[in-house]
Amino acid sequence: MPAQTAAEQPGRARHAEHVMGTVVSFDVPAWTAVPGADGPLGRAVRWLHWVDATFSPFRVDSDVSRYGRGEIPLAQCAPELAEVLGACAEVSTRSHGYFTATPGGRLDPSGYVKGWAVERAAALLSAAGSAEHSVNGGGDVQCAGGRRWRIGIADPLRRGSLALVVAGQDFAVATSGAAERGAHIIDPHTGRPAAGLASITVVGPGLALADAYATAAFAMGNAARDWIQSLAGYEAFAITPAGATWQTGGFGAYLD
């Protein structure tokens, strides 16, 4: 499907890029969206496609696939793979094994890669001079500067509705749940689909960690409340299958 670019308000541009099995939506200053691939937006988009080609476990020729099959050593992979695996190991330790880069026994660091790639795409735009942009990777959002961004949290129990709105300036919002792709997050300790929560949203400064934490927290279920509470800089809001909600102590600062 072709990528689409639509103008919104003066001086702003929106762009939706199909990549990494989802759609990454950009809200950027219009000047970053110069035609062709050489402007700041074009470079950010190119970065996402490079990440997809390098890290996708669904592409047999990606570095992740080849390294996972033992065909090439880490040293022959893109250096970013070592960086990502190191970060995955760190989150895995920090989450007591609820986050893993080898779900089902196969190398698949996607639970970290998407948030990391989107956070870095946003950083590329900042480095290019954009002072106000957001990048939404299939429902996980990194916001940078400019305005006070208002991010709606999808209600997992009522399709098409928002559960609440969070707001902030330089911050990230990641949500894990089963509403879009079914019960795809496995509790690595039981091998069964996690079912304790309908969805959990993690907010904090960076999307790489917010996304990975959200994945681990979803697998963890209600125990994630104390776990996220113990992490510096990140807060969580959860909705249970029965419709009850809870939030960590500092989450209120993000409520709109």
Binding site: M1, A7, R14, D140, R159, L162, E180, R181
Partner: protein, 162 residues
């Protein structure tokens, strides 16, 4: 003060999004004027404090409701929009500046893909619009959607000018 504006724009998301939010534009369906068929929603728009979303049943009638309007209701037809899946056109029924019903005038109906769009994504797209008439948001966070799921997402609507 919130006012509801209606602007049926040129994309599938634009079908929806429109409904608006904290707009400064006082009123009415300027952008809907090239829609085919009915109506005259055009006039006298006044501020509608807090324009809350009316409750709309979960199914969307096929075909125009223009002949079946109750008192105070106005039908506004959107542009026919060419999507990757075929032409789409919706009709919004307004009352007191709120959307009270949505009908589908045209939607793709050929392939499996089209059916999915018609039966799942499209209604979802509409219902999302109806439930977000309050307050402008910049993006939506939720369980990761697939490429296909994006079609019916509110984020899609936002990306196309909501």
């Amino acid at each position: 003060m919130r006012r509801v504006i209606l602007a049926v724009t040129g994309t599938i998301a634009g079908l929806v999004a429109l409904l608006s939010f904290k707009s400064h534009v006082p009123a009415v369906p300027a952008a809907a004027s090239t829609g085919t068929g009915s109506t005259g929603a055009g006039s006298s728009a006044s501020p509608s404090a807090g324009a809350s979303a009316a409750t709309v049943p979960g199914e969307f009638p096929q075909g125009s409701l223009a002949g079946k309007l109750s008192a105070g209701e106005t039908a506004v037809n959107g542009h026919v929009t060419d999507t990757a899946y075929g032409p789409v056109q919706i009709q919004l029924i307004m009352k007191d500046r709120k959307i009270v019903k949505v009908a589908v005038l045209q939607q793709p109906a050929n392939t499996i893909h089209d059916i999915q769009i018609g039966e799942f994504a499209f209604p979802k797209l509409i219902s999302e619009t109806l439930t977000t008439q309050n307050g402008k948001i910049d993006a939506v966070s939720g369980a990761t959607y697939t490429s296909a799921g994006y079609i019916g997402s509110l984020q899609n609507a936002l990306d196309h000018g909501a």
